[in-house]
């Protein structure tokens, strides 16, 4: 706690010059320190408490003024692993609660509790590659490729979808976007074209 002098660590730090700008920030406290020292030299007072209080006043003032530095200067923390795990849990809960739409619910339509396997098929004579892009995969035209079936021009894929509405298109050879002729509906995509729509029910929707 101290070095045998009766002064605190902070006072020693002050004496050692570790806080060089403290006196400039609080001349009054510095004056108090000088007066207390003079009194001691002249045998009028016992050193320690007064000096300590004066120095600590400077230090506390400095701490108040530079509190913001804590946020911008490197800090060293001692963290219990169990508390770190708790922090991660809080983060996960926070993201799930406040994250708005999620990957499991890209349309913000709810019903993200289950998934249903849905089979998509397209006859695409002459195609060398067919993919499925839609609201369920952020319209990534490479994420869900279809596989050529036994029939030469039949392409298929089965994907898990959440109950609710999904819009999608087939992408042929990475260039041509075409609707699904077997979709429940075709709707305006807002860009002057049409998207296919499928409504997935929790109990065994099957597409062909």
């Amino acid at each position: 706690m101290n070095r045998g002098s009766g002064f605190s660590e902070d006072t020693h730090a002050y004496f050692d010059g570790d806080r060089p700008d403290a006196a400039e920030r609080d001349r009054h406290a510095a004056d108090q320190f000088a007066q207390a020292t003079a009194a001691f030299v002249q045998g009028e007072a016992v050193p320690g408490r007064e000096v300590d209080r004066a120095v600590m006043a400077v230090i506390r003032a400095e701490r108040r003024q530079s509190a913001w530095r804590w946020f911008i200067q490197p800090q060293v923390f001692r963290l219990r692993p169990v508390l770190a795990a708790a922090a991660i849990f809080v983060a996960a809960v926070g993201i799930s609660m406040f994250g708005g739409g999620s990957a499991a619910d890209p349309d913000g339509a709810g019903n993200a509790l289950t998934t249903v396997l849905v089979r998509f098929e397209l006859r695409a004579p002459g195609a060398s590659a067919v993919a499925l892009a839609g609201s369920f995969n952020s319209w990534d035209d490479e994420a869900v490729p279809l596989v050529r079936g036994s029939a030469e021009d039949l392409w298929t894929v089965t994907v898990p979808l959440t109950p609710g509405e999904h819009q999608y298109l087939f992408v042929i050879d990475g260039e041509e976007w075409i609707p699904d002729p077997h979709a429940h509906a075709q709707v305006d995509d807002g860009f002057g074209q049409r998207n296919s729509v499928i409504i997935v029910a929790p109990r065994g929707v099957v597409r062909s």
Partner: protein
């Protein structure tokens, strides 16, 4: 220990505060990853952030932005931004209707479904009518989605709204209401005229008869459907 508490508090604040910023950063980063110009990504992020700050669901906007960029071969970026602005306006209108219907704070799923319904030509009165009949927010969101889909399938808009309202009134759960579009698709695929489809929906109050889980879009019935919607077409079930 004090440092630990400070660290935990800072961590929580950092995570909990910026849901909107998270969405904004997500779509911006995703667009740039996919090769979009930074200026375009920034403008999209600005629109998404503004919507989030207004309390609107941002997922539909992010999805539409990614869709527009994916179709960039045929859709110029400026057009994407216009479409996003229109969608934001519809989300705002959907939120207002939802609040007026008594859902306050408005659930994002309901607001998104209302905006989608408005975008497909349903009126504010249609949306309000469906919300008024819905006993829960899940039913409300599902009802809006299904009604919009039925209308897109060619069903008369009033009939679509009425079918969903009646289903809500009968206490049908959302998972049953979600089967309407499949059943309608099956009827149409069988060559049933749209007028008859509408009649059977309204007479049957949506889906017809109690039955076992089945295949195709609808659920096969053990009784011939003399009214209402038919069973599925007997496709091979993948996830019965």
């Amino acid at each position: 220990m004090r440092s630990t508490i400070v660290l935990l508090a800072g961590f929580a604040i950092t995570v909990a505060a910026p849901a909107v910023a998270l969405q904004q950063a997500d779509v911006r980063a995703e667009l740039i990853t996919r090769g979009a110009p930074q200026g375009f990504a920034d403008r999209v992020a600005t629109i998404v952030a503004a919507a989030g700050e207004a309390g609107l669901p941002t997922a539909p906007l992010s999805s539409k932005a990614l869709e527009g960029w994916a179709k960039r071969g045929r859709v110029p970026p400026e057009r994407v931004l216009v479409v996003l602005g229109d969608l934001a306006n519809r989300l705002e209108a959907g939120r207002d209707i939802t609040v007026e219907a008594g859902l306050d704070p408005p659930p994002g799923s309901v607001v998104a479904a209302a905006a989608e319904a408005l975008g497909r030509g349903m009126t504010a009165e249609d949306v309000a009518a469906i919300l008024d009949a819905a006993p829960t927010r899940d039913v409300a969101a599902t009802g809006l989605t299904v009604a919009a889909s039925l209308a897109a399938q060619g069903l008369d808009r009033a009939a679509a709204v009425r079918a969903v309202r009646e289903a809500s009134g009968e206490g049908r759960p959302p998972e049953e209401v979600l089967e309407f579009p499949s059943a309608v698709a099956n009827l149409l695929a069988q060559g049933v005229p749209m007028a008859d489809v509408a009649r059977r929906i309204l007479e049957g109050g949506g889906l017809p008869l109690p039955s076992t889980p089945g295949v195709g879009g609808g659920r096969p019935s053990t009784v011939p459907a003399t009214k209402g919607l038919p069973p599925g077409r007997g496709r091979r079930p993948i996830n019965p």
